[in-house]
Symmetry: D4
Subunit: 246 residues, 8 copies
């Protein structure tokens, strides 16, 4: 945002006239690919580079955005994508990696420094794997140390209690659960760190695509819990990263 | 139902002609008060006397049914009622008792023998009291020993673990919870007895009148759990009584 | 749970020091396969071996869990699975059996003793077959005698009345119905045994994937009924088994 | 509608010019009270006089409409009204009658001839009384013989079977039920007459204001059933009257 | 039902003993194919032969039921089926016919006498064809004369007004509409015959699979309208047939 | 927005330094009352003065805002308010007027010039009065000529057709309906002007507080219709005013 | 509509007798293709030619309607269609064009004159492309100048602010957004032109197929916004065209 | 938790025998008031003292809990309470304070040290006051510096931009909005700090008690946002406090 003040000052000092100032402002902000506007100051503004949300974008659109970002040398993260997109990208950019379970492609152009403190990703069941991996890849990409604790659903509470130290020593927790979505409530009573709860669509019948877990988490009787969208491992990792880096 | 066979046999043996048989059948079955048909063979048929569901009935209707049942000497249970109905009934039948929190009136005409085995009623919070009491009065009325364990919500799991023996030694459990409805799932992983889960409407916002707890309980990852309607302490106690008496 | 007390006593008697006690506790509880934690004390703790819920697990994950359980000689039940998983398992374990309608694989390693009393599985329509078979296989696997009564929907009440004795002599009933879900209410007025109602997703339009039957069952005017998730034949059989074995 | 053709013919025969024809058409159709347009040809057009739906109308509006209709000598029916409106109307029109349970006021100006065939109104519970009475008054007002059979819910099926002849001899049935809404399905399997099902809002918790009964009735496995809005005793009687008079 | 009385009389007159009477009753009622119980007295009891609801039944189950019914010489109607089932049945029973749009197979074994009065089937749009045809085939199969009036949605009200006589002369109307479901309300103000409204799932977005039309029809401000399930052309025709034949 | 450019120019021309420019910007935009920020440039920016939405504001808050606006001499409109607020305001500002049905207070400080073209407000029933009046007062306040056509629901389509010229000559229409919400669809087929549809919460049962009308309007098969929130007469009038003044 | 008056006059002047007048009226109104009634006076009546809504129509039905319209020389627009339909039509009518993203076929038979004023189509994300294109093609087909501004979601508000002039100079705006649907609210505070908001189904989890955006838009705190169905680019363009041409 | 290890060590060192160890454990954990179990180790375990959730608790229950906590000298916070409870408590404990808008009682027994970093509480409208105050009191009670920025809804985006520095310098933000719930999405694009979004029930019609804002926030296109229950100012402040103190 200093750059914005700079432009005002340049106008004041007559380095720029008003029209030139207008031009500078526009270019500074984003690149327009026609079908997409790439936010060039996102990292400066909110601390993270723009991420490509793959759902509903064509292979051609994704590739075009990758090309632009690759040129600028930034690290690239594509979520909610699939094998076919990966095959296409991998031909051009050999360093691209694909986490199949998490449906995430990463291209690392510059080193990622990891935090000392860590994010704990805790999940109720084996079936929650896609959400676990989406959260894991995202958090790692943003430079966080991550510890995973999986298959510790409330139906066998001793499995959870056994891992309690890993949970307690985390700086922030991502807790993932489908079905009855009880896991964040139980953990919320055992640790004193912020918990970001992720309901998953795992289940059937009256889970209504994750609604059961979502409502359960929103209504948790434990403190310190907030919730992101169903299956939104990315969003949970994004906020957890912000908190972990405070 | 033996009585029905008896009527067929009486027809065969000419003790009754067909028309008389028809008459006998009708009288045998119920008393018609006009606004209500009192099911006289319910106790024989399903093992429990008919219960008066107070919601939506006028004071006059309830009193009329009580009068009829009182004459037959059966014990009387009125659920979902209120102080005004009680005052009216208590004037006439001094032995009537009112559980205010549970909104239940009982009139005991003959002794109730209690079971050896017991039903455990377990509840997450203090605010669930109306449902707890409805279940407690009903189960007691039907002749069950009952143990109550309250305010053991999942946000403080050690409170629950401390009472685990009372839960484990029950023959059947009624587990009551509002908000995220996680308690039955946690208990289901700790005991090997059938659990009847009762969602309550306690909460606000996205609990949608108990929907959050209801969905959570229906989607429990623990085995051995079935669910009754929101706030339905009566229904849970009714089924628990059936199971406790097996 | 005696084993837990034993560990405390071993610490008291100095057979174990505190750290060794900690180690013993962990190993005793479960085996960690990485993607899944197999609950080794489930049968001891809740009376039933762990069951493999196939939905959302890969073929590789299921096979890995089967391998581990097979080594321990336990009987194995896999629900919500499909032909491809069966083909893969059957190659390795010839005794594996597949109930196609119920989508259930069973591998019997040790004999299953059957109860004297039985569970009645009652279903409204031919189309409810997948749920019927899931319940049937599960109840049988857990050692229960089972009687099936199918296609006795309320639209032809005489078909139901004809089978009434089978229903009345059961110790507990599983009643399965889609569409308007009325069957449990009708049966609840005719028998005096606990009924576990299973709504099915059979139907179309305003059945909203089983919601119509689910709500009908939760709101039943008959006593003695509790409800499990839509299409959850497994859950119904699990609880019915608990009750049948009391 | 003959009158409309007459107007065209009058134009053809020059009895009316085009503008006069337009005027005739307008007057013929309705009276405009400002806040309401009274449909003068409704009885001619659809066979029934207009009925005053009281919900959401002020006492003044209702009285104004009554005054207009009273002048025209038609019989008057006001639904969804309350005591205060009645008191006001009864002062002016002594013959006004009020069915308190059904919240219906009637003013009979000319004799109502009754049909030979009858409508059976069948209801599951005592608590459904308001809907029963709304249907009863409406059907009677429209000149139908009516037989009421109440408190025959499916939880005690023998009470229903005992009244089966009254049901079978009706020309059309109105079947009213709250909670699980199973009664129309059971009756639909026992009689061969059209059934108009009325879900009621009686119940609590997961009945969601009558939704449970509504969905159950829409999804009935029995044939010959159609459904009106929750608590809509008027609408059911209206259609039943049409059918009864065929 | 006379046959039932006959059995009682035979017992009285000692033509049958009690056990024999029991046997007679059972056989009289239905045939048990194992996976289905065919209701042999349905036509006697409710006036219509049993219809095969194809949804959720395997080809083998349907064929088995057809074989049994064919032997008894009854006309056969299979709804919600598909080409593959038809191909299989047509090989064996050459007279089988398939209405592809309506997904209905009919096998006519004995002549169907048509009524003088007719059912009008009115539909809003071309896209409602599957429901129109399901209703049409069903009504015809049950011996009704039928008149179809299609593509007369409320967005072009003059198309509807042009056909108004066909609507007015019907004995009963089936009115089919998706999207905003307004057609029955408009017709209800123009005719004085009972209307059975069928909401369809045609539409997208906030039609929520037919919910918009369903709610609109249930809340119609016009009288004389009742509603069946979304897309339930069969159910509408079934009830319309009952009314048409009064 | 010219004022914003002016500030940049003043900086360029050194009339203002950067800090002064910042100050000017802030003051220019709004007045901060602590509990509310009054948007001083709203009329300049979006063409209309800020309106006070009364719902959820205390009498004191409303009065405070009125005082501030009164001083600036603007006309004042308060929606969703009630008698008590009016009494309080009327004491201080005698020219305040209250439309009781519409729950709207207006204080006119300067003359309102009316448009030549008009907005037609069309409503299905007498019970929709509160919404009609909210729309009427708002549109008039914003300087529009308005024509009201009420009680022309689709159940008596001739009442509507009689007023068709008033509808056709409007520049834009607001069409208000509860229950089945069919009126906009019918009018949409008869006029070629934009229609803003307002669903109302009038009705009961399955209207679910206006949901039935809302969904019907969103799914209209007629073109030229858009929809505002349930009962939102204000919002409809606001947009209609924008269109009428184009 | 003048033609209708003309017919009345011809009857008056005996140029036509009543029966001939009836005939003329019918033919004048529409052509009946059997499966569809083509509204010949739509353009005269509501200002736009009839559009073919492709969803749920067979290729044969669509082709039949196109043939009829082509003969009459009108421009043709087919929405919600797909490649296969296009291939079939393009063989016959070479001038047919297909907008693949928007799923729209156009056949231009006569020149389309464009307006001076323009409609701004503003969209939050790249993934909203199908809705953008449906709106774009429709608005263009109806003769409107259109300006597109895409990928200006609220998460990067500066991208939007940069294009603010294009938005402000439009006569009417179509604002398209999925997910949280916030874009119309933000724009509504910045421009003083009517906004037609289109929620899209883009998103996942708790967006419930576009419900989140739909509700957000209906509840907008900004004025001047009305809403069409989820993904209904056509409907938005239809109304915007009406407004743009005022 | 060290205390738990201490008990194991005391058993090892024979300071305690096994039974004594069991006793120590129980007392250590909580105080049982019968109707409530007060969690004595909550502050140690999760970093915050237990808070009294007033909703659904009687005045007597609340007073009893306060008495117990007061004796232990802890600071006391009661949420979702009302004037009558306050009057009763204030008689006994003069230092009790009541925030009427926020429905919160506080009793401060020991000084609360404030953090250097602060939590920003940002709210869209004046009507959100109850939620703002609940969040404010809670955050302050837990020792956080708080900055409030209210009435900065998205309909007047410049009001928000003017306060942007207060938002950017916060360590964590609580963003409160009803209606369309867009505010967190807009702020999420402007700051790089974690945002806890609180949907409020403010609004009417299709806001469905806060559902519109809830869904909008869960589906936000901005990163760094998580959500708590509708109107849950307490929960948001609880988690924000955890994050602010990291």
């Amino acid at each position: 945002m200093d750059k914005l003040k700079k432009i005002l000052e340049d106008i004041e000092s007559k380095k720029l006239n008003v029209d030139e100032g207008m031009q500078h402002l526009k270019k500074y902000l984003y690149t327009d690919l026609g079908y997409a506007k790439i936010d060039n100051i996102r990292e400066a503004r909110v601390g993270y580079p723009e991420v490509i949300f793959g759902l509903g974008k064509t292979k051609e659109q994704i590739t075009g955005i990758v090309d632009h970002m690759y040129e600028h040398g930034t690290n690239i993260l594509i979520t909610r994508t699939h094998q076919e997109v990966y095959d296409s990208i991998q031909k051009k950019y050999k360093e691209a990696k694909y986490n199949q379970a998490g449906c995430i492609i990463t291209i690392q152009r510059k080193p990622i420094e990891k935090t000392q403190s860590y994010i704990a990703i805790v999940a109720a069941g084996t079936s929650d794997l896609p959400v676990i991996e989406e959260a894991y890849e995202t958090a790692s990409f943003f430079g966080n140390r991550v510890e995973k604790v999986t298959d510790v659903g409330v139906a066998g509470i001793h499995r959870l209690l056994d891992k309690i130290n890993i949970l307690r020593e985390a700086k922030v927790l991502i807790v993932i659960a489908g079905m009855e979505g009880a896991l964040p409530s139980v953990i919320g009573g055992l640790v004193n760190k912020p918990i970001i709860a992720v309901p998953t669509s795992i289940g059937y019948g009256a889970n209504f695509g994750g609604l059961s877990a979502l409502l359960a988490m929103l209504n948790s009787c434990s403190g310190g819990i907030s919730v992101v969208n169903i299956d939104n491992g990315f969003g949970a990792a994004y906020q957890a990263s912000m908190i972990n880096k405070l």
